[in-house]
């Protein structure tokens, strides 16, 4: 039995990606927690930014990969691409949820509220709902091929919708609550920028590494399933011959 070409590549390179992620995250955490000065206005709380912003960036990156992968799947119909999309969706949902949670924790000391219907938070919530819908479709559809197609269609539609959602929510917010709570852009001094960049790169690498692992997981599950199916078939055939 052979392993898919893509999985072979993943096996070869995953160590490098994982190592890079570990290195970047270690350096990033060191810089973020110890090596950078506190912010002039926000003080120590600004350190939450170094975990929150990379999580959010990575979630968006993941969604872009999901939409691209879905289009690719509809074109090529290669199950391995579908495995990749399925893996990306679960991870993106995870990163989106964590970005929302860390955002809430950051919001409490800075805005003095856990939640506000601000444009970014709202569109991230909708994004999370779309991703959860995607994952639900994948679990309730029994036929693998159908699940893959439906999921791909959903992902692409959601990707087209995302900018429209963000735009409309932002517009609606400015209409109803003219900047009562504004997201004051943190003046990014070079001391704050370095850990942010390193953490962002680290998170993207971590995402890629987790993606490689999860794609393998889904692929191997399906491979074993197929093998079991083949054994079942052979069993039937031997019974038919006897």
């Amino acid at each position: 039995m052979t392993i898919h070409r893509v999985i072979r590549h993943v096996q070869r390179y995953q160590g490098w990606v994982g190592g890079g992620a570990a290195l970047c995250l270690t350096v990033g955490l060191y810089l973020g927690l110890l090596g950078s000065p506190p912010d002039y206005y926000q003080g120590e709380v600004v350190r939450i930014m170094y975990i929150h912003v990379p999580l959010a960036h990575t979630a968006l990156l993941g969604y872009t990969v999901l939409a691209g992968g879905s289009a690719w799947y509809l074109w090529k119909r290669d199950p391995i691409i579908d495995n990749m999309c399925h893996a990306v969706a679960a991870l993106s949902a995870c990163f989106t949820a964590l970005a929302l949670l860390t955002g809430m924790i950051w919001g409490k000391p800075t805005w003095d509220t856990w939640w506000t219907w601000d444009a970014r938070l709202t569109s991230f919530t909708v994004l999370l709902l779309i991703l959860l819908g995607y994952l639900m479709v994948r679990t309730v559809v029994d036929d693998l091929d159908k699940a893959a197609r439906y999921g791909a269609v959903l992902a692409i539609l959601g990707f087209v919708d995302l900018p429209i959602i963000h735009f409309s929510v932002e517009w609606w917010r400015t209409l109803h609550q003219p900047q009562s709570i504004s997201m004051r852009g943190v003046s990014i001094a070079s001391g704050l920028l370095a850990p942010l960049v390193v953490m962002s790169v680290g998170m993207s690498l971590l995402f890629s590494y987790m993606l490689m692992i999860r794609t393998q997981l889904l692929y191997l599950n399906r491979l074993l399933d197929a093998k079991k199916g083949r054994l079942l078939h052979q069993f039937h055939m031997s019974k038919a011959d006897s």
């Binding site: 819908g133 959903l154 539609l157 959601g158």
Partner: protein, 226 residues
């Protein structure tokens, strides 16, 4: 008439004839909406001014959920005697089937909205003296948006378990822009604001309609075709 338009017309004709014979979909949508109105009036004990303020929101909550019923039925009705299979084997492009179904769904939802709007106005004692034609434009644009995405998702959920639950779960997050724009524009039209104030919302609705009709038109291929 081109074969393309003919097919769309035939699908619309078929759905309308069946609906006229049974009156199942529209009747259930209207009754459901009446119950929603009833529950609204219990939940918020409103004077006329308060009702006026939240009327647009209530209207669109009711429309969205009744629309969900109509959309769900549009494809589950095709499951009797596996008629959906016959549609799938029809030698026309999937997009044609999609547009035919969108037309039928739009017709049902729009008729229900026209029936329900006066009830909202009467039951909540709201004075509506303003130009109703603009309101019709708002309704039709927003309904087109709901129907464009909803038809695709109805086709997508028709074969999966728990489709009655899955359709709103998938559809509602996607149509957030439609809901926002529809509520804002309806509010503007009901208040008799100058058009320039809520014109951007109408434009947003129009953009949404165009974008999602085109995208769904392409995507319907992958939903319907094995």
């Amino acid at each position: 008439m081109t074969p393309f338009l003919k097919t769309i017309r035939w699908i619309l004709w078929k759905d309308l004839v069946i609906e006229l014979r049974c009156r199942e979909t529209i009747a259930s949508m209207v009754f459901f909406a009446l119950i929603v109105i009833l529950i609204f009036s219990f939940s918020f004990s409103m004077d006329q001014q308060a009702a006026h303020d939240v009327l647009a929101g209530m209207i669109w909550v009711a429309f969205a959920f009744t629309g969900m019923i109509g959309l769900g039925k549009s494809f589950s009705a095709e499951l009797q005697n596996d008629c959906l299979e016959a549609l799938q084997m029809a030698p026309v492009s999937r997009g044609t089937l999609y547009l035919g179904k969108v037309a039928a769904n739009f017709a049902f939802m729009f008729v229900v909205e026209i029936l329900l709007f006066p009830m909202f106005v009467i039951l909540f004692n709201v004075d509506v003296v303003e130009d109703l034609s603009l309101l019709l434009v708002v309704f039709s644009l927003a309904t087109a948006g709901l129907a464009a995405v909803g038809t695709l998702f109805a086709a997508l959920t028709v074969h999966i378990r728990a489709r009655e639950v899955m359709l709103p779960i998938l559809l509602l997050p996607m149509v957030v822009p439609v809901m926002i724009a529809a509520v804002e524009a309806t509010k503007g039209a009901l208040n008799g604001d100058p058009l320039s104030l809520y014109r951007p919302w109408l434009e947003l609705l129009a953009i949404f309609d165009v974008v999602f009709t085109i995208v769904s038109f392409w995507m319907f291929d992958f939903v319907m075709d094995a």
